[in-house]
Symmetry: C2
Subunit: 453 residues, 2 copies
């Protein structure tokens, strides 16, 4: 249809396999290292935290992994997710570009996070776990895991970064509605939390600290496991269903993207959208530019170093080679809480080093301006995280307007902003700031990098 907005797939068209990009890359990614021995970690090192099915996915060299029937059944509550042509935004911008966005806000938790929360809960339940612990920033991940645990009969305990816990109470309420327990992080419940509270009783928290707390609790009991919402290979793997669907949907309307743009915090949404397209690019079938957008206040790809670092603040995780600002870096409490992470997924970092993708950093006020423009044109209020991708989409659409090129842009609207409305209020009332991070602060955090020969 000439004026079609949504490109839908039937449930029967939903992909039944996740895509693992590792075997298709020209070089293998560097392995994670044990922080004591500095030797590559093996499956057994990870067994206290994760069930073996997920560990095997983490190190898999297989190109495709079948999605279990039980996971597919839950996916079908909202999947396949719609691909939209942003016709009304194109009109407002007066651009000849054709803008498509894959909308993951249709999931029950309101973001792409259930794509991995559901299989993580499934594999843990199958392996006999009783409870999962996790961290959450803005709360998208905590909500997703709480829901997935409710569906597979697991208890769920969530450490939420204090800044978000205080600023956005609705997220906590939603997590509790799904039956999980939420703690403000840093909390007095863990050694990692107490250490931070001793330094600063009013600590606003960080993802790195919340991870330390959740990992600490999981490591203490056999039947309590830990779940991570981004960064790791198996998380990125689960998210590839986004890009696999988008490939089918664009094919339905005969389009090939010139540019794929997504926001990056830990990187799972970005990888989920772009890796299936990167497979096609590596095979020479398409040639899109693939571009990550990160917040100017937490720019791990564009301002960090590529080095071995811890995934958490207390130094309890394996060492991962990634673009990092230093595990001690505590980002400003910007509104896109899901992007406030000191590092970048090792797999994305590797892809970036291989020159297969680009990255830019944008300040939050430009992002929210794009978010408001998008909301008034397309109707959907975006989460703060994908406003970063929208800001770059708007920049590119305006470049297309100047050049007259009919650029085809594909982006991921990875969540709605219903529970982030105080951020919009701050923006609309002029209270939102864009403070530059000083070079001294970056340098101080990088000085804490562990020494790896």
């Amino acid at each position: 249809m000439a004026d079609q907005h949504k490109i839908l797939l039937d449930e029967s068209e939903m992909p039944t396999r996740w895509y693992n990009i590792v075997p298709d890359l020209p070089a293998p990614p560097p392995p994670p290292l044990h922080p004591g021995t500095l030797q590559p970690v093996g499956p057994d090192d990870l067994a206290p935290l994760f069930p073996m099915d997920l560990i095997l996915q983490e190190v898999s060299g297989e190109r495709y992994v079948d999605i279990p029937d039980e996971v597919q059944d839950v996916y079908r509550l909202w999947r396949p997710s719609p691909l939209y042509r942003a016709r009304r935004l194109e009109q407002v911008l007066g651009t000849p570009a054709r803008i498509y966005y894959k909308y993951e806000g249709v999931s029950p938790a309101g973001s792409h996070k259930p794509n991995t929360a559901v299989p993580q809960a499934y594999y843990n339940a199958k392996a006999g776990a009783r409870k999962l612990t996790t961290e959450t920033g803005a709360g998208q991940w905590g909500t997703a895991l709480a829901l997935a645990c409710a569906m597979f009969g697991l208890e769920c305990e969530v450490w939420q970064v204090a800044a978000s816990y205080d600023q956005k109470p609705y997220r906590r309420m939603m997590i509790e509605t799904f039956g999980a327990t939420v703690h403000r992080s840093p909390s007095p419940l863990t050694a990692a939390g107490r250490a931070q509270l001793e330094k600063d009783p009013d600590h606003t928290g960080s993802l790195g600290i919340a991870i330390s707390e959740a990992v600490e609790v999981a490591a203490q009991s056999e039947d309590v496991k830990y779940a991570l919402g981004s960064v790791l290979n198996h998380v990125l793997l689960h998210q590839t269903i986004i890009g696999e669907e988008a490939l089918l949907q664009l094919a339905k309307v005969g389009e090939t993207p010139d540019l794929i743009v997504g926001c990056t915090g830990g990187g799972s949404n970005f990888a989920g959208l772009s890796f299936p397209f990167l497979r096609e690019k590596l095979a020479g079938r398409i040639d899109p530019v693939i571009r990550a957008v990160e917040p100017a206040s937490c720019p791990s790809l564009t301002h960090g170093v590529y080095a071995y670092d811890f995934g958490d603040t207390a130094g309890m995780t394996p060492l991962m080679k990634m673009h990092t600002l230093g595990h001690d870096f505590v980002p400003d409490p910007i509104h896109a809480g899901g992007l406030r992470y000191h590092g970048m997924s090792p797999l994305i970092s590797h892809v970036y080093e291989l020159g297969l993708m680009e990255a830019v950093a944008i300040g939050q006020r430009e992002c929210f301006a794009a978010g408001v423009q998008f909301a008034r044109a397309e109707g959907i209020v975006p989460a703060p995280e994908p406003t970063h991708a929208l800001a770059e989409t708007v920049r590119e659409a305006l470049r297309a307007k100047e050049s007259g090129q009919e650029t085809v842009i594909l982006t991921a609207l990875c969540g709605h902003g219903h529970l982030d409305l105080p951020a919009y209020e701050a923006f609309l009332s002029g209270r939102m700031t864009d403070e530059a991070v000083s070079e001294e602060r970056f340098a101080a955090a990088l000085a804490t990098l562990p020494a790896v020969p």
Copy 2:
């Protein structure tokens, strides 16, 4: 597919006409009366408030009204909306009943309200209006109208019931994100508001008072019009697209409903779902029971009288024959703000008097218990309003479990509860109450009914 969750329609299958039940009823509904002359109001009496296209729809005797292309184009941002089979809820309840729900929370505003907000903004813009005024309770309607006005270039001014304005600030923020202005009602900006504030400076407001304020402002300027989110015939007309789609969707899976259940405040969601099925019932093609569910604290159908009354508190609207608790009745500040209206749509009241539907009233704690059960099984956190329909659905599913009958239940999940999470927190923490309304309070409000011979 045997385990299908969603029954989707393509954009090309979206109905292109609204359905007007009036010509199909065995008797015509009583006309609205001018409060001064007690004579039926004519189109000219309504012209200060509404554009002529909507007035003609209000009094139309045509069975079908074409949906303008411009309205269809906006509808397609989210329509056709999905029909879900609640398989996971059925499993949790252990019922042989098959439960279907039509989900309107996929709209940008998160409820069914844009179905009428969009055409109302369109017809007003077409007629040269500059601004629309309106009231809102929980905020669903205000959000929908703000969005529709943004899309058709109109200003929008919203009076929000004070209880909701204070309890649920996220709704105001969302309305403002779409570019509209929100006032706490009663406000000092109108004579109607000032009169209430003089009586009680801490007044928690009501829909009736907020309507008075919005009508007062609209009546003062030629290019400012008023928009109502429920109750009136043209609003119910626009909502029939819900039921028309559901008919197509159930036909796709070969199902015929035994019971249709929806929540009722002003009645637009209930009529939207049920009237197209009632047409089929009146024609003898199906025979479902059609049942409205209202809150025990505001039970206009089950506890009100069928009489001429004002639509607002200040007595500025025409007199409408409807089930009413008296226009002076201020419902308790229950969490389903969208159901806190003293009257019931005249058209639904007439259908009820004709014996074509049933009604029950349920207290809010039972409703929220059903809402939490639904959220944990199906993933979607329902708005407080449709938890009333869910509570009755659960009752009926458990009856089916006892009798062993494979009852087919169709209900409307008319909105999500993302912006109503404080209500869930109140329920989960045990702070939610179910106070019975005293007979004295009902009697006092009914004593204010206007005398109509």
